[in-house]
Subunit: 78 residues, 2 copies
DNA sequence: TGGGGAATATCCCATTTTGGGCTATTCCGT
DNA sequence: ACGGAATAGCCCAAAATGGGATATTCCCCA
């Protein structure tokens, strides 16, 4: 197994992302569509089978945080 | 070539890291030692030949930002 | 209570990327 | 120019990824 996959840091990140998506009211398929990726891509990183590079994290966060139908608290100002 | 390697986002990140290390007064070998990685690891990401996952970025930033010999401005408070 | 559609999980494996020791090349001070 | 430090590149076995397809789990409702 690779060097960071399955490390504590990765497990934490994976857990965060795994919770953030449903919190934002999205299914894997929906998020996958926004990211123009297959559903299995989401499944992989949410299940800790794949690393996420920095650029991808930014894209994922952006795609997961944009559901206009849903209440979200104001973005913390720091 | 992979999906994000060589993308604008990656080029930008690579440029940032490539500059940050000497700014912090470190050579590749020194940084590599702190990270317990070979010098070629640093060379690869600084030259855009390898992605950096999120956990690695955190480690790199931490390792590159700790040179106590060197003046650095106060960390911005937001 | 079981039928069925939605959501999530897993398979498979060709293709791509990586790890890292070692060598080569470039830089620079004297 | 010489010499050492720093950076760059080579090589290829081993590891990770991509993504379509399939299987499994959930859960609502008649």
């Amino acid at each position: 197994m690779g060097r960071t996959l399955r490390s504590p840091g990765h497990l934490a990140l994976m857990a965060t992302l795994k919770q953030a998506r449903p919190d934002a009211g999205q299914t894997r398929t929906e998020l996958a569509e926004r990211l123009k990726r297959p559903q299995s891509f989401i499944a992989k990183y949410e299940n800790g089978e794949r690393r996420i590079d920095v650029v991808e994290l930014i894209e994922i966060v952006a795609a997961a945080g944009t559901d206009p139908q849903r209440h979200r608290p104001d973005r913390p100002r720091c």
